[in-house]
Symmetry: C2
Subunit: 172 residues, 2 copies
């Protein structure tokens, strides 16, 4: 979303609001909602690319590959289905991510013992070692990224975002 919407400068922000309203002339236009959505998206992009550049790049891992590996490390072997949902990606995307991870020897696919449709994914020893190496640095950068916020702010932020997530879950 446009950079002007995440400006710190109140004057610039109000100018952007005027610019938008000049084009979309509508009494019910909700600029605050636009700002909130816009900033959620910009922050996510900025955080993600920061993490990929500063932490994940040297391990040749993208964000999703990292998340999948993290889930497997903490909660152990998982079936593909649940893994996709935990990682917040679709099944089709997971197939690609698993191909990448398997090629690098970080993950292993295995058949489900009783259900022929299912697939069980496990981290390899190398996969566990990799995530153990990454995680402390990753978390350190999470702390850096949120260092402008007080403890209360962080909790508040998480709460507000959970509200948005809950709305989306139930609204659809």
């Amino acid at each position: 979303m446009p950079g002007a919407f995440s400006s710190d400068d109140e004057v610039e922000l109000r100018q952007a609001e005027r610019d938008v309203n000049a084009v979309f002339i509508d009494e019910s236009f909700d600029f605050e909602a636009l700002l909130a959505v816009s900033n959620v998206f910009r922050a996510a992009t900025a955080v993600r690319s920061h993490m990929e550049r500063e932490v994940l790049a040297r391990h040749q891992l993208g964000w999703s590959a990292f998340v999948v590996l993290f889930v497997l490390r903490v909660w152990g072997p998982k079936q593909s289905n649940e893994l996709a949902s935990e990682a917040g990606i679709t099944g089709g995307t997971l197939t690609g991510v698993l191909n990448t991870l398997e090629r690098r020897g970080l993950v292993k696919r295995a058949e489900h013992p009783t259900d022929g449709r299912r697939l069980v994914v496990s981290p390899t020893a190398k996969g566990r070692r990799t995530i153990d190496e990454i995680m402390p640095v990753f978390n350190q950068h999470e702390a850096i990224v949120t260092s402008g916020l007080t403890g209360d702010d962080r909790t508040q932020l998480a709460r507000l975002l959970r509200t948005v997530l809950r709305t989306l879950d139930t609204e659809v």
Copy 2:
């Protein structure tokens, strides 16, 4: 990031914290930072896919194509450089997005009058019509997505996220 981290259930959340701490044994592990980052990312993904599904799909536009078109509609012809920065994508990505938009006849590339390196991008009439049609619905969905928040909450959310963005801007 793992779905457990955005749970509304406090018990489940604390269990997830225990699970993580059981694996990454580290006194200084910052779970609140993990939660904040995780939720920013999950919320952004959820919002984006909601918008793409409910609003943009019928116009065959992805998020970035929409943002680029929006910027051009509100602020008029722009040079490629600034356009990428406003839309929050890199130059390489913009080239692809512009190809898509140009193929659909929503945007036009033109040479800069004096500087041979530069490129000026303008919306076509069809491009303006398209965004004018989309925007009211889009904004309505932005309002829906944030309908669980009070007015104060929205402002607060935008403020907290701007703080994160500012941290990332200056920290790097």
